[in-house]
C-alpha cells in the first residue's frame, strides 16, 4: 500500500489497529496508517467519516479504545502528561479556525510558544516572530488583533504559530475550509513551501479535492471509520480519471474524488430503509 520509495525509512507516525467508539458507535474501526519523514499525506473523506477524529488521535488530543498511535517512535498510550508535552513541542497543528488566542495580537500569538518553552530573550523572540510571520506573508499584521484580520489571515497566523518552535511534523485540520479559491490556493502553496523549505512531515485532513491533489505526496481515503485506500497521489489520479469498474470500493472513492452526485455513496444514503421506516411508524 505504501509508496515504494518511502518504505525503507522509519515512519514518523504509525497508527496501528486504532479503534475509537463514541457511545458504542465505532467512529474509527481498526485504522492502520504510516506516515514517512518529509512526505505530505492527505487524509480525505466525507463529513463524519472520522478523519478529524483520526487527526485528534495523532496529536494526542484523543486516545483510542483499542490499538495505538506512535509518534516519532513513541507510543502515545505509554506517555504521561509531561511526556506528551515534550512530544507536543516537536509537532505543530493548524486548527480549522486558526484557533488564535483572541486576547493577544497576532505577534503575541506567535511569540507565546517561544516565551513559554524557550529561554530566549525578548529581542530574539521579536526577531523570531518577524521571521515566522514573514514565512507566511503576515509580517505587517503582527500588531493586529485576531478580530481585525480575515479568515485566510487567521489561518496563516495560526500556521506561523504552529511553526514557531520549528516542528518536525505539521498537522493541518481542513486548511482550505471556508476560504475563497485564491486564498485557498495561497494556503496550499504555503503548505508545499513549508514542506519543501523546512523538510517537515505534513498530515493534512481535508475534503477539498483540488487542494488535496495539489499538495499530496500520498493520499488516504477514510469512509465510515475504515481506511479504504492509502497510496501515492498518482494512484488516486488514475482512479479518479479511470472508468467505473464495478468494484464497490473503487467506485466509491471515484465518486468522492470526482464529486459526482450519483454513485455508491449516494446510493448508500438512499437505501437506508426510508420506506420501512415510514411503514413502521404508520403501523405503531
Amino acid at each position: 500500500m505504501c509508496d515504494t520509495d518511502t518504505t525503507e525509512r522509519r515512519p514518523v507516525i504509525r497508527v496501528v489497529d486504532l479503534v475509537k467508539r463514541f457511545g458504542g458507535r465505532a467512529v474509527l474501526n481498526g485504522i492502520n496508517l504510516e506516515v514517512h519523514p518529509g512526505e505530505t499525506i492527505v487524509i480525505m473523506g466525507g463529513s463524519g467519516c472520522g478523519k478529524s477524529t483520526l487527526l485528534r488521535h495523532m496529536v494526542a488530543s484523543l486516545f483510542g479504545d483499542e490499538g495505538r498511535v506512535e509518534l516519532l517512535g513513541q507510543n502515545l498510550n505509554d506517555l504521561n502528561e509531561s511526556g506528551l508535552n515534550a512530544l507536543r513541542l516537536r509537532f505543530g497543528i493548524l486548527f480549522q479556525s486558526g484557533a488564535l488566542f483572541n486576547s493577544m495580537t497576532v505577534g503575541e500569538n506567535v511569540a507565546l510558544p517561544l516565551r513559554e518553552h524557550t529561554g530566549l530573550d525578548e529581542q530574539t523572540i521579536d526577531i523570531m516572530v518577524k521571521i515566522k510571520l514573514e514565512q507566511v506573508g503576515l509580517r505587517e499584521a503582527a500588531d493586529l488583533m485576531p478580530s481585525e484580520i480575515s479568515g485566510g489571515m487567521k489561518k496563516r497566523a495560526g500556521l506561523a504559530r504552529a511553526i514557531s518552535l520549528d516542528p518536525e511534523i505539521l498537522f493541518y485540520d481542513e486548511p482550505s475550509a471556508g476560504l475563497d479559491p485564491v486564498t485557498s490556493a495561497e494556503i496550499d502553496q504555503l503548505i508545499m513551501d513549508l514542506s519543501g523549505k523546512l523538510g517537515v512531515t505534513s498530515v493534512v485532513v481535508t475534503h477539498e479535492m483540488d487542494s488535496a491533489f495539489t499538495i499530496a505526496d500520498r493520499m488516504a481515503m477514510l469512509d465510515m471509520g475504515r481506511m479504504l485506500k492509502i497510496g501515492p497521489r498518482s494512484e488516486f489520479e488514475a482512479l479518479r480519471d479511470g472508468p467505473e469498474t464495478g468494484d464497490e470500493t473503487g467506485d466509491l472513492i471515484r465518486q468522492f474524488l470526482r464529486g459526482d452526485p450519483e454513485g455508491p455513496i449516494t446510493a448508500r444514503r438512499l437505501s437506508t430503509g426510508y420506506e420501512e421506516d415510514i411503514l413502521a411508524t404508520a403501523g405503531e
Binding site: 488530543s61 515534550a86 507536543r88 513541542l89 479556525s97 484557533a99 488566542f101 513559554e116
Partner: protein, 270 residues
Amino acid sequence: MSAGAGQRNFVEVLGARLIGSISYIGGMAILLTQAIGASKATLARSSGRQAIVGQMVRVGVRSVGIVCLVQTFIGVILALQMAPPLEPLGQVHQIATIIGIAGFRMLGPILTGVIISGFAGASIAAEIGTMVVAEEIEALRAHALNPVRFLVVPRLLATLVMMVLLTIIANWMIAIGGYVTALLVLKPEVSAGYWALMQENLLLRDFYSGLIMAGVFGVLISLIACYEGLKVRGGAEGVGRATTMTVVYSIVSIVLAAGVFTTIFYVFEF
C-alpha cells in the same frame, strides 16, 4: 405507565441526579487540585503574575462601584428596618451593633459574592467557554501549555484576593450606609454614638470570620466559572448554558457554604 415503571423511572432520575452531582463535585475537586499544583508555576513566571493582576482588575476593580452602591443601600435598609422594633425597647442606638455584626460577619461577604458571581463568574465562564468553542483550549494543549496553569490559576487567585478586598470595602460601605441613615433619619443620639458602639461591640473575629468566608466564596465562584467554561460543548448555546449555570451554582454554593460556616462558627463560638 404502570406504577412500577413510574417508581423505577423516579429512582433512575434520582440516581442519575445523584451521580451527576457527585461527578460535578468530583470534577471541581480535581480542577482545584490541579490548580493548587499549577499555582507555583504560574506565580514563578512574570507572564503568570501579569495575568493574575489583569484578572484582579477585571474581577475586582471593575466591580468596586456596584459593590459600594449595593452595600451602602444594605446599610440604609438595615438601619431603617431595625429602628422601629428597637424604638419601644429604647435600644435604637444598638443598630450600630446589629449593622456591624450582620454586615461584617454575613451580609458583606455574601452579597459581595452574589455580585461577583454575576459580574465576574459569568464573564469568566463565557470567556473560557468561547475559547473552548474556538479551539483555543485545544490549541493551548497542543502547544504544551497547561490550560489550568494558564487560565484557571490566574482567575482563581485573582477572584480569591479580590473577594477579600471587596468584602473589606463592602463591610465599611454597609457601616457607612447605616451611619448616614442614622444621621439623616434617626435620632441624633444614634449617630452620635454610632462608631464608638460599633467599635465596642465588634470583635476582631467578626471581621476575620467574614473575610475567611469571602475567600472561600471567591474560590467557589472562580472554580465553578472555570469548570463550567471548560466543559462547554455545542457552540453558543453551550456558552449561554455555562454562564447561567455559573451564576446559579455560585449563588447556591455561597449560601450553602455560608450556612456551613455559620454553623461551625456557632458551635465553636468563633
